[in-house]
Symmetry: C2
Subunit: 110 residues, 2 copies
């Protein structure tokens, strides 16, 4: 490799990395997607699984994920109410990103 300075195409609004990060770069977003994974997960389970997240932040993140069509929410009309989350088809496509984050963390950080 030469010492030539060279740079990728500018990372503007059409940049796919920027587009993905706009959707996924919330502090907890990818961690929540990782925890839901290929499962059907109840709200309480998720709260326990993502340690350190506040109730307010988890609800906010989940609403954002549902709005962005990465997660679907199913509410059972019963007492006490039951709420389940799972990844949508689009949400499942983020799992390869999460896998690479896990790989990097395992090999270099934990």
């Amino acid at each position: 490799m030469t010492n030539k300075t060279r740079v990728n195409t500018p990372c503007d609004d059409r940049c796919p990395v920027r587009a993905s990060l706009t959707l996924l770069s919330g502090k907890w977003t990818l961690m929540i997607l990782f925890q839901i994974n290929e499962n059907v997960v109840r709200y309480g389970e998720l709260k326990r699984a993502v340690t350190g997240i506040s109730e307010k932040m988890l609800i906010q993140e989940l609403n954002m994920l549902v709005e962005n069509k990465l997660v679907s929410k199913k509410v059972y009309q019963q007492i006490p109410p039951k709420v389940e989350y799972r990844l949508t088809k689009l949400g499942l496509k983020t799992l390869p990103i999460v896998d690479k984050l896990a790989e990097f963390g395992l090999e270099n950080l934990v």
Copy 2:
């Protein structure tokens, strides 16, 4: 797949995804790593490549990346001064994450 609710191991301090995100989840972090990539990049080039980032934020992010040993900085003592950045061995290992972000963005968002 059954409708059984199941969840991953809790994402606590030893979780590799959390560890990676602690290092990489800044709003601009992965975009800067993507732009440097396998190249040697001067500060001015980076500023132009990551459109929308403020001078203050770019300097702050670069200092953080250098501190976390993801990026190395070389200052040439000349007038005007020349500053070059490249990914370290550890930084290069984040590129598979960036690749997956690019793939997701390309296929689903842009």
